[in-house]
């Protein structure tokens, strides 16, 4: 496995009537193999743009992203994606969704059936293989999306607000699941969120991004993700240092928001 490196990454969108949006401005960072990074920031600060560039769906205006020695030029199986919602193939059953990547590669069905069963077990959906996906709840659908992405064994997992559409209870359960998977598989994970609590809990490292131009405003190294693997996540969230960091970041984002409002 290899590190993810962003070098002088900039992204400028042309908007109508000659205007330009600096969605990303000179982003530099290195994400080591096996790290868990969460990215937080007010809406419109370029989080999705950054993720899409890393996934290979967009080309940056300048600079580049490298996974190991290779520059990222387009989408590939070494980077798995989990989206907020709506990215499951609703005409397929649960197991057909999960083994989609394997089928595209032409894996032996017997082998893939075994892998599907394993992964369904890991995400807590054992026995749901033949159910059509559209009959499942939002939380279950995101579990399938996780399994579908992980079964392909990617080096890097990119998640764009994966838990954003879930209710609070399901969300907490899914947070534990993400941590469990991170620890057990040792994958590099980059997760975008707009919830400060989630960012703190799911971030070994945390980038707080600021808008106009989109940039990394502040970076944290946090202990909560490691502790979350063994301890109860509710206890962590009630700890003093957790609350302290949370308030600090919240104030920072509030200030940013006010600055934006002031500009308008």
């Amino acid at each position: 496995m290899s590190d993810l490196v962003a070098k002088d990454l900039s992204m400028v969108f042309d908007v109508g009537s000659g205007g330009q949006v600096h969605a990303l401005n000179n982003i530099n960072f290195t994400l080591k193999s096996g790290e868990l990074l969460s990215v937080l920031g007010p809406s419109g600060c370029g989080k999705t743009t950054l993720l899409n560039i890393i996934a290979g769906f967009n080309h940056p205006t300048s600079g580049g992203v490298y996974l190991g020695d290779e520059e990222i030029k387009g989408p590939g199986v070494n980077r798995g994606m989990v989206f907020q919602q709506g990215a499951l193939f609703e005409w397929l059953t649960v197991s057909e969704n999960v083994d989609f990547g394997l089928r595209m590669k032409g894996t032996d069905p017997k082998k893939s059936r075994k892998m599907v069963d394993e992964w369904l077990d890991i995400v807590g959906l054992a026995g749901f293989g033949d159910v059509p996906t559209y009959q499942l709840s939002g939380g279950m659908q995101q579990r399938i999306a996780l399994a579908r992405c992980l079964i392909n064994d990617p080096d890097l997992i990119l998640m764009d607000e994966p838990l954003g559409a879930l209710d609070a209870l399901t969300r907490e359960k899914m947070q534990s699941l993400v941590l469990k998977i991170w620890k057990e598989t040792g994958k590099t994970i980059m997760i975008i969120t707009h919830s400060v609590e989630e960012a703190l809990l799911l971030g070994e490292r945390l980038f707080v991004m600021a808008p106009r131009p989109g940039r990394i405003h502040k970076e944290y190294n946090l202990p909560f993700a490691d502790r979350g693997v063994t301890e109860d996540t509710r206890d962590i969230k009630n700890g003093d240092d957790f609350i302290h960091t949370r308030e600090e970041i919240l104030t920072m984002i509030w200030d940013m928001e006010e600055e934006i409002m002031g500009q308008v």
Binding site: F57, V77, G86, G101, P132, R148, N152
Partner: protein
Amino acid sequence: MFDFLFEYRGVIVGTIFVALIAAVIWAFFYGRKLIRTEKNDAVFGNPARALGGWHWVITGVSAILIVWLYFSWDAARAFHPKAANELCQVAKLSSAVNPIRSTFPLEKEFLKGTSLLVRENAQLSELEERVERLGFSETEKAKAKETIDLMRAAITGMTSPEYLDAETSSQFKSIEARIDDLTAKLADENYPGEPTTEQVAAAEKNARWGDSGNEIPNAPASPRGYKFDAAAKEMKSIASDFSKIRNKNENFLAQIEKLKAQIASLDELAQASPGVDELLVQNRADFVKGLTRVLRRVDDGNIFPPDALNNVQAALVKLDDEQKSQQGGLRFYDTFMMPGGQITSGSSSCSEQGSGRWLPKPSDTLRTFARISNPEIGYKGYPLLWYKMKPFGEMVDFVLPDFISSLVPGKFPRHDENGIVTPNFKSKVHDIVTGNFESFKVPMPSGHVWDSLLRVLAGLFFGIILGVPLGLFMGLSRFSKGFFDPMIELYRPVPPLAWAPLILTIFGIGDDGKIFLLFMVAFAIMVISARTGATGTHLSKIHAAHSLGATNRQILRKVILPNSLPEILTGIRIAIGVCWGTLVAAEMLAGTTGIGFVENVARKQSDYEIIWTTIIILGLLGLLFDLMMRWIIDKVIPWRGKG
């Protein structure tokens, strides 16, 4: 079996009618009761209120059938089959009275003489006005005006009572007396006496109501019928004598003679002064022609003094009252059981007019349907829907393209000196692909309905297999969207039937033209729905598929195509409907088979039962198609709207 049903159709239809009314009443009250117990229905606007309920379905269907039975007079025929025959006799009397009645302001606004007078005066004023404009010489002008004044005097000569001669007055008196006499006879129970043996025989020969088209049994067959029939005969002669009466008194005849001379001299004057101006010549001729025309009508002598006809009118009103009271319950029956029209009497027979005529009776429609469903009879020698034994070779010929034989190496055999052709492998292949071989026969559906179905399915088939790929392609590439869009958007908005004359000319009136027309219809719809489906694919699904390692082709087949299926199937559902409508119209334009053809022939022959039969067949088939598509959509894309 149908003959048996036909024999008792009155009882059957009557029972059904009563049962339907009972069903409506019962379902209505049942529905009312449910409404009171249904909790959801308490809130106005709750969609649960629109869920319907089978009792309301019963109410609706029954209501339609009742209206049909009622307005087509099927119910009337079931409950009182003899009424039509009696009403026919009544109609005979009314049509006999009509020539006299139309003289009086009984149904119209004006007395006939009044209307004539108004018209002639208007014409004369118009001519008078023209005199000034036409460029007549002064002498001519004077003469023309004189003529017009004379004409007015002649008309006044007819309207003033003092000139009415004694003979005409006595003629009116006699008509009045005869009408009064007839009124008395109508009131008389014994009139016209015992029917003659011929009358009885004719009554027995009467067919039943509706046995042949709209014909109503013509010969009187009941005491009331005999009475009205006899009265009608007498009335006919009275009316004929009445119409011969003319207002031609001495004074009037003298004036007419004078007028004729006057016009002739006017004409001479015109001829004697030859104008250089062609227009003037024409104008003069037209003027004289106009005068002559008015004169001819005045000369008919149909205008009488205003009160000369009062007594006749009074007599007629009395006759009217009497014949109405003689009709008794029949009048009630005419109004309430035969709505929207009445029975009228023509020169030789009586017939239904109004809704009874153009709305065929359900029982007759069913009988017609049963008749033409019989494959032995069919319509125009072709069954509606049946099967035919066809040699298997014909199907091979249809399925395999003929050029296969040209691909086989070698040459086709030639005849030798003895005129014998020895087949070789190439010619044998040719025989097979052209279906030219002995083969067993297999049953194949055939008939008008099948032909129509086949055309729709063929057009739809080609529209789908060509339209869907193009639509997906257009949804995925800038080039094809830009390149094909103008072509499709230009031909699509043209109503399909506007293409029909052109396409039928190019492809001929056979199946090819119709199938091509339907193909055009289906193609545009399929392209647009497939394109909408393709462009509507959620971007995150495409992204997900890409990062799961799918190739472009795999994404097209495994993501974009299934994602477009709901749109495509909805497109097919719409296309079926539009094709169906287009086909029937196209078949009406040209062709020798198909439902549209049947309806068109029936239209030319005013065969309303066949027309309604085809309408019902079309409606049911359309409904069937739609239910089928809905079922398919439910089965194939259960995820629709849940992505």
